[in-house]
């Protein structure tokens, strides 16, 4: 039989009593704690039947000299300091002793240690929620929520953020309830409630996972998996096979070599943005293929709002598109006197915006647009 075993024992401060219960359970099974570092514990086989543990919150800050006096008192009382972590003192009973538990006044213990620890833990659980809320407000005041579907990395980041928020919320609610129960027990001079060990282990694991989830949440949205190029022959070649309306499609004869193409997306939302130039001006084409109708509706609503917004980066002054019947599921049109028009259409789950010097009410032009945007497929 093995004489040594290692175990992950990462417990949060409010779960001190759960750690104590776990150590006592192992002691009854013949395992004695040797050390506990960074949530990893080493146990050795023991023959002792009188071994028990007492876990205390480590007071901070406590002057070293006072610490020694306290540890001496504990030692005299039969409790040997077995392990020290950032959060806990773990005491083991000395052989042949059956020492009195370290805390025999629950009300005083709550007043001196636990009320502060639980308040701090609640603040600690709520502050990431607050930071996430502020981050969300900051991002969504600049971008639309549906834009997260343009990249799998952004979706993954959102998932991490959701997991973090849910985890912190559940922990914060548990702490609030635990604190109330604790105060009630302390006021009635009863022993404090011991949190369930599996749940305490889960909370400890959650605390370990938090930094692992925060990092990708912050970094993943910056991973660019799309294609974005300015003025290249590669763009011209790619555009031919993509759902982009080009200047040449609208009848331009002198096409400039300048162009811009961006292709991005995920299985849920595919987006192509193309700019082409002719001697008369520029043709802009945006194409969105959405996985779900509600996503298409979101895209349409945002595009209509963006086009009318003063501070949105347009390639033209703000415009208000009006609904028109052009044979699509939905269509909006803006016509300028000089012949420049902006057309926004929705056909099923496809949304497209085309702008340029063209008459989009002309059935022939519309036919070309339909063909280029693959709306006939």
């Amino acid at each position: 039989m093995s004489q040594i075993t290692f175990s992950c024992l990462h417990f949060l401060a409010p779960d001190a009593k759960a750690l104590e219960a776990e150590l006592n359970r192992r002691a009854r099974s013949g395992w004695a704690l040797v050390w506990l570092h960074l949530g990893v514990a080493r146990f050795e086989r023991t023959e002792r039947s009188d071994l028990s543990y007492c876990v205390e919150l480590r007071p901070t800050p406590r002057v070293e000299e006072r610490d020694e006096a306290y540890l001496q008192l504990c030692d005299d009382a039969g409790w040997k300091l077995q392990a020290t972590t950032k959060t806990f003192y773990v005491f083991a009973s000395k052989p042949g002793t059956h020492p009195t538990p370290l805390q025999t006044d629950p009300a005083l213990d709550f007043e001196l240690h636990w009320s502060t620890v639980l308040r701090q833990a609640q603040r600690g659980a709520l502050s990431p929620l607050l930071v996430m809320l502020l981050l969300c407000l900051f991002f969504f005041s600049r971008v639309h929520l549906w834009q997260a579907f343009l990249s799998m990395w952004s979706l993954l980041s959102g998932l991490c953020l959701l997991l973090l928020a849910a985890g912190n919320l559940v922990y914060g609610l548990w702490l609030s309830r635990f604190r109330q129960r604790y105060r009630h027990y302390a006021q009635s001079d009863q022993s404090i409630p011991t949190p369930k060990v599996p749940a305490a282990r889960l909370r400890g694991l959650g605390a370990l996972l938090t930094p692992i989830l925060i990092l990708p949440s912050l970094l993943l949205p910056f991973i660019n998996t799309g294609y974005s190029q300015t003025s290249t022959a590669e763009n011209t070649r790619r555009m031919a096979s993509l759902p982009v309306v080009r200047a040449v499609d609208l009848g331009a004869t002198e096409v400039s070599g300048s162009n811009y193409l961006m292709v991005e997306g995920s299985p849920f939302l595919f987006h192509v943005d193309g700019l082409t130039f002719d001697s008369g001006g520029m043709v802009r084409s945006e194409f969105y293929r959405c996985r779900w109708p509600w996503l298409a509706e979101q895209v349409v609503t945002s595009l209509l709002a963006d086009e009318a917004q003063e501070d949105h980066p347009h390639l033209h002054p703000p415009i208000v598109l009006s609904p028109v019947q052009l044979g699509f599921d939905q269509a909006w049109l803006y016509q300028r006197e000089n012949g420049w028009q902006s057309l926004l259409v929705r056909e099923g789950n496809v949304v497209a915006l085309v702008e340029g010097y063209a008459d989009f009410t002309d059935p022939e032009i519309l036919g070309l647009v339909r063909t280029r945007l693959r709306l006939e497929e």
Partner: protein, 106 residues
Amino acid sequence: MARKKLDTLTEQMYYVLLSLTEDRHGYGIMQYVSALTQERVVIGAGTLYALLARFEKDGLIRLSAEEENRKYYHLTSAGEQLLENEYDRLRRQVADRERVLRGDFP
């Protein structure tokens, strides 16, 4: 229960103060109280340490000596007065009970 003022002592507080009518260190206090009360009142080291710190801060006890990380304490006059007041309160409680039992008080 939060005890902002030490106007009413808990049993553990009372016996800690009572034990410090003579110089004693922490573990000495624990042994003394346990023996005096025939183990009816036992005080944990953590609780005792917190009480000693509070009593010292409130001027009820003072550090009288220190040997090998063991601190010896003794009651101050304020501590003696508090203990006396508590004793009077407890005695009056007992006397009241006896009066009721004897039927001296309706």
